[in-house]
Amino acid sequence: MLKMHNIRKSYRTDTIETHALRDFSLEVNEGEFVSVTGPSGSGKTTFLNIAGLLETPTGGQYLLDGQEVGNLSDRERSHLRNEKIGFIFQGFNLIPDLSLFDNIDVPLRYRGFNAKERRRRIEKSLEQVGLSARAKHLPAQLSGGQQQRVAIARALAGEPRFLLADEPTGNLDSLMARQVMELLEFINQWGTTIVMVTHDPDLARRAHRNIQIVDGQVSDLRQNIAADEAAIA
């Protein structure tokens, strides 16, 4: 599903050049649920932005669903992002002026669906997250957990094959966090690939696989564990 090879990303200011990612290589298979952990400033967010086509890497190769995305135009990348990728953020990032219905409508508009199809998808995704009754409400009228469920509904409405979640439970209390996590697992079971950045080791463990980013590079825990086990054996 996602294949990164030797990705580099550096930010340059007037005085210094920071390397956010160095020789970063990673492969995520179709249907996988991968958690990404790592200390602050290790490059988690940069990885997510590149994976989500919000930023372009300085070097290296990135194949999304088998397609090389390095040389695509902004329009093509946006189209790809719209069609294949769903985003979930720590801060929910719902648009405060728009009702739940209109929030979920946003990616569908950019997809170019007709009104009927948009309505069908919005209603379906609201139903999936159990908020059908509140379609006309504004985000501010909901609790944090509800807002995150709307954000998930918005990410799902376009039926993406690949979901990127950035600390999706970071702003939630533990009960709500658990609910959101269960929702994500449920979505994953239906075939959506998920990459989730998190601080929470408990959540990280619930994924199929955990990747740790340290200093802009990957250390694959599962492989490490496997290697350790092999060594023990």
């Binding site: 967010t45 932005n49 989500g52 919000l54 930023e55 902004d74 329009r75 990348r77 946006s78 189209h79 992002r81 719209n82 069609e83 985003f87 953020f89 720590q90 801060g91 990032n93 719902l94 648009i95 405060p96 002026d97 728009l98 946003v106 990616p107 508009r109 950019y110 997809r111 170019g112 918005r154 376009g158 950035d166 600390e167 970071g170 702003n171």
Partner: protein, 437 residues
């Protein structure tokens, strides 16, 4: 997608009503100022004779002072002498030709309670109506002999006929003008072109004549023009006849020449005429005459004067300031929405989609500004009508074309103003707005 952008724009305008109102106000005031002066300039530049622009010519003859040219851009007197007008009228080359000047006097009616009032008159040769396409309601023009002999006939315009005869067919009736009885031979439609292209010596935007009388009456009525009289030559004028024969210019002269060949023949005729006059000691300056189309005549006479053009520049500069203002405010407004834009980018909006969305928002502000700008323009024009005390009434008004232009100008301005802010917001890196601070 445009519909979606418009609904987003309206939502966004409602969300920041004060900032939006400021921008709409800035655009409206800028457009109002610019359109007020543009409308004035447009109305002042109108050419009532545009339909016949290719065949009508204002005639100028340079009979001026050998020591210095006439003091105007054409370097020829605007008008011609009475005796030259009489000579030119003898030519049979033009399809039509008109010698004329402004006059006026009191009108009275026998056996009527009508109080005497001053009528604006045009003393003219008979081709006036045909040359300028002024159509008759009743009757027709006077006979050719009235241009050379004293024939007391008059053509009224419709309003005057309304006032004097309640709009009835008054052909054959009699009015008293300047103390002499005149027989009505025709009634024409009111004709008040603005600017008064056929007579630019007497207030460019004032009303034209109420009544028309034949050109053959000068001697018997001792008519002194109500227009400009200019002279350069010291001459002994001891009688009215001396005045008619003098080098004073006070007659306006127009011809209709329908083909290039006809025009060529007329030019040859004028050349010959001036040469002949030169041999008699007149026309001391180098041989020169002018044939100006109505459109050229308006420019030559500087109908749109320096003040008008200066105001035009000033109001465009004003619009520029309003635009810069709008750019700054739009930038502020758009950047405030940067987090939302970040989310939209993440959800699949391309840069060009973001750019279009914001440009549409600018356009909506422009549309609102344009509509209010029209109201401001109307107010501005009303103010100018009032301040100019009647001199500008006929030009300080807006037609539908100018209203459309106002909206167009407003939208164009706001799109221009929105260009940079929309570009800027579309280039913003979305990722920085997605992370919780």
């Amino acid at each position: 997608m445009i519909g979606y952008y418009i609904s987003l724009a309206l939502r966004s305008l409602r969300r920041t009503p004060i900032l939006s109102a400021l921008m709409v106000a800035a655009i409206a005031v800028g457009v109002g100022a610019a359109m007020t002066t543009l409308t004035l300039n447009y109305m002042m530049s109108r050419n009532a004779l545009a339909d016949k622009d290719d065949v009508l010519y204002a005639v100028q003859l340079d009979n001026w002072d050998p020591h210095e040219a006439a003091d105007n851009p054409s370097e020829m007197p605007w008008e011609i002498t009475y005796k030259d007008a009489i000579s030119l009228l003898r030519s049979d080359i033009p399809t039509y030709h008109v010698a004329m000047h402004r006059w006026g006097g009191p009108i009275t009616l026998e056996d009527s309670t009508l109080r005497p009032y001053t009528a604006q008159a045009r003393v003219t040769s008979r081709d006036f109506f045909a040359l300028f396409d002024v159509s008759f309601v009743y009757g027709g023009t006077w006979a050719g002999e009235a241009d050379n002999n004293a024939v007391f006939q008059v053509v009224l315009n419709k309003s005057t006929n309304e006032k004097l005869f309640n709009g009835e067919n008054s052909v054959g009736r009699t009015i008293n003008f300047n103390g002499a009885p005149f027989t009505v031979v025709g009634v024409v439609e009111d004709w008040h072109p603005s600017p008064k292209v056929h007579d630019l010596n007497n207030g460019d935007f004032m009303k034209s004549a109420d009544i028309y009388i034949p050109f053959g009456l000068h001697r018997v009525l001792e008519i002194q023009t109500w227009g400009n009289t200019n002279g350069w030559k010291p001459e002994k004028i001891e009688s009215y006849e001396d005045g008619l024969g003098a080098e004073y210019v006070w007659v306006q002269y127009w011809v209709q020449l329908d083909s290039a060949e006809q025009r060529q023949r007329y030019e040859d005729f004028l050349t010959g005429f001036i040469q002949e006059q030169k041999s008699q000691g007149r026309f001391p300056r180098p041989l020169k005459f002018g044939l100006s189309k109505p459109s050229e005549w308006l420019v030559l006479n500087e109908v749109v004067d320096g003040d008008d053009r200066m105001l035009n520049w000033l109001s465009l500069a004003f619009l520029l300031v309003c635009l810069v203002n709008a750019v700054a405010l739009l930038l502020a407004k758009f950047l405030r929405k940067a987090p939302e834009t970040g989310v939209r980018r993440a959800l699949g909006a391309s840069r060009s989609a973001v750019f279009s969305q914001h440009l549409v928002e600018s356009g909506c502000i422009g549309l609102a500004g344009g509509l209010i700008g029209i109201l401001l323009t109307l107010a501005g024009l009303a103010l100018i009508r009032q301040l100019s005390m009647g001199y500008m009434d006929s030009v300080a008004s807006m037609d539908w074309l100018m209203m459309l232009s106002a909206i167009g100008l407003a939208i164009l301005s706001s799109l221009l103003a929105g260009l940079y802010p929309a570009w800027r917001i579309s280039r913003t890196n979305p990722s920085i707005y997605l992370k919780t601070q």
